[in-house]
Amino acid sequence: MTAPLLEIEDLAVRFDTEDGPVEAVDGLGLRLAPGEILGLVGESGSGKSVTAYAVLGLVRPPGRVLRGSIRFEGRDLLALPEAELRRVRGAGIGMVWQSPRTALNPVLTVGHQIARLLRHHRGLPPRAARERAVEMLRLVGIPEPERRARQYAHQLSGGMCQRVMIAMALATQPRLLLADEPTTGLDVLVAARIMELLKDLGRRTGAAILLITHDLGTVAESCDRVAVMHAGQLVETAPVRTLFRDPVHPYTRALVAAIPRVDREVALEPIPGAVPSLLHAPPGCRYAARCALATGRCRQERPALLPIAPDHQVACFAAEPVA
């Protein structure tokens, strides 16, 4: 196995809310090989976006990283001073944000927004940066890139804004791309094309992608490996085929069963209950309250993430080989 590009170990992020502390991410571990596409899946509130913020060092009060390490190309990002971290952001790690419309600055032209990254991170002179920005826009499939570069976000469609975001994230040729729900708010066809583009550009530039989504369907089509998060904890991780063919954790099973198919148009309320409040998180498995298989032990003790097959790990007592 090659040295991982990104390796997260025992990451915990806490938010101090008015009603008490909330552990939005609790003991998360992830590995991402160079060029790999990993899907990080979970319902909203499961802590997957917070994980991305932590990787970028953008967890701000009332949130803070409690413990853990995030190694990127061998360096622990959590231990880096802010100035060096800034060099990693943008240059080493690019981010595609959730809502492309609001993630673009409304008073700067999109061309300028790409060009300034090139000037800052790659030291390109203004003119070259501008030209490279136009090139990037062409690369992500925007027609008339010269004209579009001079326009503002509000003059572009949602899909086009997302293409701009991708161009921005990839302009500095990062080794890792974080994509946080890159297709929310886009219609199905546009979303499919954006995913295709991401995958294609990832392969071409050799960048690894951490794809954060609540939609297992998207993951099935584009990822190599999948990690499933529930209530701030990782419950299962496996290669994408294994996960779909043989999901082990009850939560993953419920998610897989709930994927809308052609023969079943409406996705019904798939999983009983909601993501539990993490305000007074129970000591045991956080899925226990929603789980049909839960036993007394599940409510008392927290299952560890253990391998059940090569490259397939599950955190569930029911999956543990009987000792």
Partner: protein
């Protein structure tokens, strides 16, 4: 951080308890509440709280600086200033409160009717509202007192008129929202009388922002009243009011009697500050939509 917000909303404790806890946590606003209570109580019980008769001159101590006998000093005639300020506070709170309450009731009714009926009535009310809002409030109040004279009632009317538009807009906006909502539609088809729909659905939505608005308006009302009186357009002797007392004190500045302009003005600052702090805190607690405006 959307995730944190989601999580925080997952388990809300009882509303009233939470409200009190959060108000108390904001110590400054909680202090403001106590200050206001103290001021209101002092005004209410003025004859018993004030150390002296506010109009009784102390012949031995004209223009006495603050000291043990007269805590805030005396004026040219030897009247105790602390007692005068306490008594004057009655006028300040009465007029500001009256103006605010009157404007609130009138504005809320106009706004509700305009928003519910719509049509020409709505047009007339809104155009009138716009016209009043086209004037800077204080300048309009000045013009009105000049036009109708400055009895206590007239000054209250002048201040109230400048406040009415904000309540009209607030309630009308809420009314339009409620009217759009399905449950109002449903209630109407079931055959509820109009008035009940308004009361049942509109009031709970309107009351929090109205309370916020009125609290902040009290501060403005006191400032407006004080400035009018300072200019001689508001309360005049023998009635006392903090702005008018400051004006009297201003003429003693050249004699060095600083306490005469300082303390009545300070009374204004403290009271207005308390209303503003409380209003801001209430806004944050009751009406997250208005936060930061």
């Amino acid at each position: 951080m959307e995730a944190a917000a989601d999580i925080a909303e997952a388990a809300p404790p009882a509303r009233g308890a939470r409200f009190w806890r959060r108000l108390r946590r904001n110590r400054l606003s909680f202090a403001a509440l106590w200050v206001l209570a103290a001021i209101a109580l002092a005004a209410l019980l003025a004859p018993w709280v004030a150390p002296f008769d506010p109009n009784l001159p102390d012949p031995e101590a004209p223009l006495a600086p603050p000291g043990w006998r007269h805590l805030l000093g005396t004026d040219l005639y030897g009247r105790d200033q602390l007692s005068r300020i306490i008594h004057a506070g009655r006028v300040n709170l009465l007029i500001a409160g009256g103006a605010t309450l009157g404007a609130l009731v009138l504005g809320a009714v106009l706004g509700a009717v305009a928003g519910y009926r719509g049509g020409w009535l709505d047009q007339v009310v809104m155009r009138a509202t716009d016209s009043i809002m086209a004037f800077p409030a204080f300048v309009l109040a000045m013009g009105i007192t000049a036009a109708i004279g400055n009895s206590l009632l007239n000054v209250a009317i002048a201040i109230g008129v400048t406040q009415v538009p904000s309540y009209v807009r607030l309630v009308r906006g809420e009314m339009l929202r409620v009217r759009e909502m399905e449950y109002a539609e449903a209630a109407r088809t079931v055959g509820n009388p109009d008035r009940r729909i308004v009361l049942v659905h509109l009031l709970p939505n309107c009351i929090p922002p109205l309370i916020v608005q009125a609290t902040l308006a009290m501060g403005y009302a006191i400032l407006t009243l004080a400035a009018l009186s300072y200019l001689g357009l508001g309360i005049r002797p023998p009635q006392s009011e903090w702005g008018q007392m400051t004006a009297e004190g201003a003429s003693e500045i050249v004699t060095g009697a600083w306490w005469l302009f300082l303390f009545p003005g300070l009374a204004i600052v403290v009271t207005v500050l308390a209303f503003n702090l409380l209003g801001d805190a209430l806004r944050d607690l009751l009406d997250p939509r208005m936060r930061g405006l």
